[in-house]
């Protein structure tokens, strides 16, 4: 009988934010590969599509999940969600893709003025993936928390103003925002020091 141990939890990373899917992936349960693909395949593929056409985006997405699976022991769910971990791999694979195109072009001595896809910089890739991760993370917040966070982020309202405008008790507003930020940190990963 195999015991799937929950992940070790650091003080600043409560299991509140670690999904069982992330725990199972970290534990190396091969049954989760399909689950992980179904959950994050669209996000990974969509990030790829921001830089390349459909066929190479599919190839890069394939490479991302193969690399993720083969390196799953490196994933630590207490340091962030699977989504930011996978998007980090995605960025590297997109860069590898463009490098391989460059090598191929040199090898076959292509004409220099042939149309080439615009190669994104690492910074551009990181900015795009962070914004797309944040979209996902906000969408996954509970409805009330999503509303409160949106008022704080997009309308730049203070806790007191949100409470007055919504009728939600001030303490609840503060609690919702605090919990939401913890979830967003997990969803973005990069904010974990």
């Amino acid at each position: 009988m195999t015991l799937l141990a929950p992940p070790e939890l650091s003080e600043d990373s409560a299991p509140l934010n670690v999904t069982a899917l992330e725990s199972a992936f970290a534990a190396g349960d091969e049954r989760v590969l399909r689950e992980v693909y179904d959950t994050y395949g669209s996000l990974v593929f969509s990030i790829c599509r921001r830089s390349v056409d459909e066929a190479p985006a599919a190839d890069v997405t394939q490479e991302v999940f193969i690399a993720a699976w083969r390196n799953r022991e490196r994933y630590d769910p207490t340091r962030g969600g699977l989504a930011p971990w996978l998007t980090g791999i995605t960025r590297n694979k997109i860069i590898d893709h463009f490098r391989s195109i460059g090598r191929e072009d040199r090898r076959i001595d292509k004409v220099k003025n042939a149309p080439q896809p615009a190669e994104p910089t690492e910074q551009q890739l990181e900015e795009v993936s962070l914004r797309m991760l944040l979209v996902e993370a906000i969408d996954e917040l509970p409805e009330r928390s999503r509303m409160v966070v949106s008022m704080a982020f997009f309308d730049d309202l203070t806790h007191v103003e949100i409470s007055a405008r919504t009728g939600i008790p001030l303490g609840t507003v503060k609690s919702d925002i605090r919990r939401s930020l913890e979830r967003l940190r997990h969803g973005l990963g990069y904010l974990h020091a």
């Binding site: 009988m1 015991l3 799937l4 141990a5 929950p6 939890l9 409560a14 299991p15 509140l16 670690v18 999904t19 069982a20 899917l21 992330e22 725990s23 199972a24 349960d29 091969e30 049954r31 989760v32 590969l33 399909r34 689950e35 693909y37 179904d38 959950t39 395949g41 669209s42 593929f45 969509s46 599509r49 921001r50 459909e54 985006a57 599919a58 997405t61 394939q62 193969i66 699976w69 900015e127 962070l130 914004r131 944040l134 979209v135 906000i138 969408d139 996954e140 509970p142 009330r144 704080a152 982020f153 997009f154 730049d156 925002i177 605090r178 930020l181 967003l184 940190r185 973005l188 904010l191």
Partner: protein
Amino acid sequence: MPDEELLELAALSRSISEADRVRHTPPPGLFDRIAAEVGASPIADRPTRAFEAHDTPEAVIDLTEAREARSPAASRHRNRQLLLASLAAACALIIGFAAFGGGDAQTFVAVATNNELPEAFDGAATATLTESDEWTLEIDFSDELPDGEPVELWLIKPDLSDMVSLGLIEPGDTQWEWPEGIEPTEYSLVDMSIEPEDGPPTHSGRSILRGELRSI
């Protein structure tokens, strides 16, 4: 949470464009290519349900109407039609879990949270049910339970037709013997509620943590 992080996230959120919200569906057959490459077992082709954090089961329950159904002893349970009507007015919870079709899984995991339960409690817990000689439920709490108020552990059917008490949680308790005759697949909701010491032996409706056991 430092203010800088809040400001950073707020600035990042305001920079989101429509293009950032667009999601493309990967072409059909892509997963098969991945599975073939990594040599995943045929289980990958079994019907599975995509995991989404917000795609929760109807484990969203207001237990306030179930108070009379609380049973005081660990191995006792009562068959009652409890809360079907209250499902519509369900109050809340988000549980993360992985769900799989088929298999002979004998390990169950629940991530119990307090996301939108009415009682304020910042902690969370991971419940793992395993079978060796007997079924054992082990709960790993992220924080200490509320001080000064008894907390009781419950197993509840998702359709709310029955619940079983595993008793009050004493300080340091982490393991419970799974009650004989109780199917983990049926009594899959793990619930922890604050119970007044002189209150009735029914569920108080004051749940602080709840999660659903799923086989893995």
